[in-house]
Amino acid sequence: MLPSDEPHHHDPVVVTALRKTYSSVDAVRDITFTVRRGQITGLLGPNGAGKTTTLRSMLGLSKPTAGTALIEGRPFTTHRHPVRVVGAVLDASGAAPGHSAIEHLRTYAPLAGADDARIQTLLAEVDLTKAARLRVGKFSLGMKQRLAIATALLGDPKILILDEPGNGLDPQGMAWLRRFLRSYADGGGTVLVSSHLLTELEQVVDHVVLIASGVVIHEGTLAALLDSAPAGSAGRATLESAFLNLIEQTETHR
């Protein structure tokens, strides 16, 4: 492991032993991982692995049963101005259908301290300038996703957290998302992105946190993971073959 790969106390996101129990069933049991600054970290795992629960607990929307999630050194909810620290896209369809894109952004702008000029900049950034006055109810899924990203960026945060942003996106939308995430990270931003579709993020993540059945089964750089994994059906190691291999190992160790 390279020295830069060790977790630091000043890492932007540090999750430690997070546990969330719903009526005596563990949604996540023991989630520990670190997100490095300026990198794109993929929180990857099958549906029901606990990705959404983890993200919502990190952001104070769900109260963890145990464990901590520190964002820039403190819990998200204790930040003076949380949406200026973290932008989150948890539910792309979260918008009043009667609102236009601009009305939607103006509704959440005060909490982020964003003015109308910022809203116009963001609409341009997510390619929605032409649709600014269109009702969100008429938006395609890709447009809703981009509006949700613009909403998350209102406070100009340096950390972006996205839950399954690829869901329902067509290849064009997916390509846009990958380009966007890369340029955000290249600009010094930190990204944590969850997905159950391992291949769709393989081209863009630097660091991977693999979770299954509520526990982290692997954390490290994508390159190191692929180096250590056996070749899959494609003749080379892929994120998918590495993941399946890890699942198999975890099962046999049980």
Binding site: T77, H81, V86, A88, A96, G98
Partner: protein, 264 residues
């Protein structure tokens, strides 16, 4: 800059101002009230022409009472919608990410629901009074608008709208499901309480005074329908206190839910 209560307030204010359903509701309500007032005025003026005595002002106040008839259902609906709209649209996440201090979110919703209903009540009273006065003028009666029973009724009507909306807000935060909250509120107001009030009222049982609907009717000095119930109404202040207590209980329950439960 710290996230202030005012930022959350502006956000909630914008939610309602840009909400088309709200403006449709205001429009429909005012049209219905104009029609209802015309109907009430027609009936009242044809059956018992007013004299000039002191009691007549009380009789005349019925012409100005159409808003009291709709206040519970309309205001409770607005309160429920202000609370549940975030959950229904999936925007609760955005709201609570922006302001994780949940009591502040509730506080700003209280301010917005109360203010919206004061506005709604004021418009209702103005439209209804306008129609009533037109009928009085046409019938050659005096206006009665400035008489104290009429003024009191109009004033209490505004308070009633506000209190009912806070009850709705509390129910909405507690139940979260929009349809479920509306169904329970309407079921209670239109079926359960009228039935209980009729049955218990016949025995002249005092418990009736502590029902929210009955207290609300007392607050506004009676509605065109409250005369059908056997038990007499209370003093407006007494009714107002009972209704305010219900608003406080509903908001307390909503507060417990909003601060303790996970955001859906």
């Amino acid at each position: 800059m710290k996230p202030s209560l005012s930022a959350q307030l502006v956000s909630e204010y914008r939610k309602i101002m840009t909400w088309r359903v709200w403006w449709y509701l205001v429009g429909v309500l005012l049209v219905v009230l104009a029609g209802l007032t015309a109907l009430i005025s027609q009936i009242a003026l044809s059956s018992s022409p007013f004299g000039n005595g002191a009691d007549d002002a009380g009789n005349a106040s019925v012409l100005f009472s159409a808003p009291t008839l709709v206040a519970p259902m309309v205001a409770i609906t607005v309160g429920i919608l202000v609370a549940t709209r975030d959950y229904r649209n999936g925007t609760a996440t955005l709201t609570f990410l922006g302001e994780p201090r949940r009591n502040r979110v509730l506080a700003s919703k209280i301010v917005v629901a109360a203010a919206a209903n004061i506005l709604l009540a004021a418009l209702s009273v103005i439209v209804s009074a306008g129609v009533a006065v037109a009928f009085l003028v046409a019938a050659g009666e005096q206006l009665w608008l400035w008489s104290s029973p009429v003024q009191a009724k109009l004033g209490w009507t505004v308070i009633a709208f506000m209190l009912w909306s806070l009850i709705g807000l509390g129910i909405g935060e507690l139940v979260r499901n929009q349809f479920g909250a509306l169904l329970s509120a309407f079921g209670y107001l239109l079926a359960i309480e009228p039935a209980l009030r009729m049955m218990l009222g016949m025995g002249n049982i005092r418990l009736v005074d502590f029902f929210p609907g009955s207290a609300g009717d007392s607050l506004v000095g009676g509605t065109p329908m409250s005369g059908m119930y056997p038990r007499d109404l209370q003093d407006p202040v007494q009714g107002g206190l009972v209704l305010a207590a219900f608003a406080a209980i509903a908001l307390a329950l909503g507060w417990v839910r909003i601060t303790r439960s996970d955001v859906p």
